[in-house]
């Protein structure tokens, strides 16, 4: 699956995009975040404050309970500040 990061989350993690295989037992966004946080110190720092992170699954806003499956595009980012 394709994972995207934006804004300061992208900077902390050190990449804007990565391909991962969906790990065994990961079925929702919350579990996926737990998994991603273990990938590097940058990931750990990026996911340290979960409540400040928003998410989209296949380009729709999602939350921790949203299901994820292999092949999904999942993006993580801070609250939006456009306009």
């Amino acid at each position: 699956m394709r994972i995207l990061y934006f804004a300061w989350l992208r900077e902390r993690i050190g990449t804007g995009e990565e391909e991962i295989a969906l790990p065994e037992g990961v079925r929702d966004v919350a579990a996926l975040m737990d998994h991603l946080a273990t990938r590097s110190p940058g990931h750990a720092a990026g996911f340290a404050e979960r409540r400040t992170i928003r998410c989209a699954v296949n380009q729709d806003f999602a939350d921790g309970a949203t299901p994820v499956a292999d092949g999904d595009e999942v993006a993580f980012f801070p609250p939006v500040t456009g306009g």
Partner: protein
């Protein structure tokens, strides 16, 4: 008629207004232009976005406005990339037979855009530092009133 555009290029208010004026029985055109401000010693702003999802989110917001108010046209243009103080960032235009629909829809579009479109602002300050703009509770409150 709905138009959504995410672009690095500046936009042309007059041309966009003329476009929505020509559609259907228009008695009212409202517009909102958001402009990069120089406050807090800002030298430039870089707007990052989520290509693909941005267009999708803006289209969904514009469709919501068209469904809720009797609009003959609705245009949303949002720029990304680097902008300096005075540069226009976002343009929303609504056209309707009557003024209340055009004005309300315009305010709605801006409030929803602020909280439901994947853009992130990074400010570069005169002292050489840079910072990501934090989301404002007031924007969230404004979006939930609709």
């Amino acid at each position: 008629m709905l138009k959504v555009l995410v672009t690095e290029a500046p936009f042309d208010l007059a041309a966009e207004a003329a476009r929505v004026q020509g559609v259907g029985d228009v008695g009212a055109v409202a517009s909102f232009t958001g402009i990069c401000r120089a406050d807090d010693g800002l030298r430039a702003m870089v707007l990052e976005h989520y290509p693909g999802m941005t267009e999708r989110a803006l289209t969904a917001i514009a469709e919501k406005a068209m469904a809720r108010w009797p609009l003959s046209a609705c245009t949303v243009i949002h720029r990304h990339g680097r902008m300096e103080p005075g540069d226009p960032i976002v343009l929303v235009l609504t056209a309707s037979a009557h003024r209340a629909a055009a004005l309300e829809a315009c305010a709605f579009l801006m409030d929803w855009l602020k909280t439901k479109a994947p853009f992130w602002k990074r400010e570069e300050l005169a002292d050489g530092t840079a910072r990501w703009v934090e989301a404002r509770t007031a924007d969230e409150d404004a979006a939930t009133r609709w």
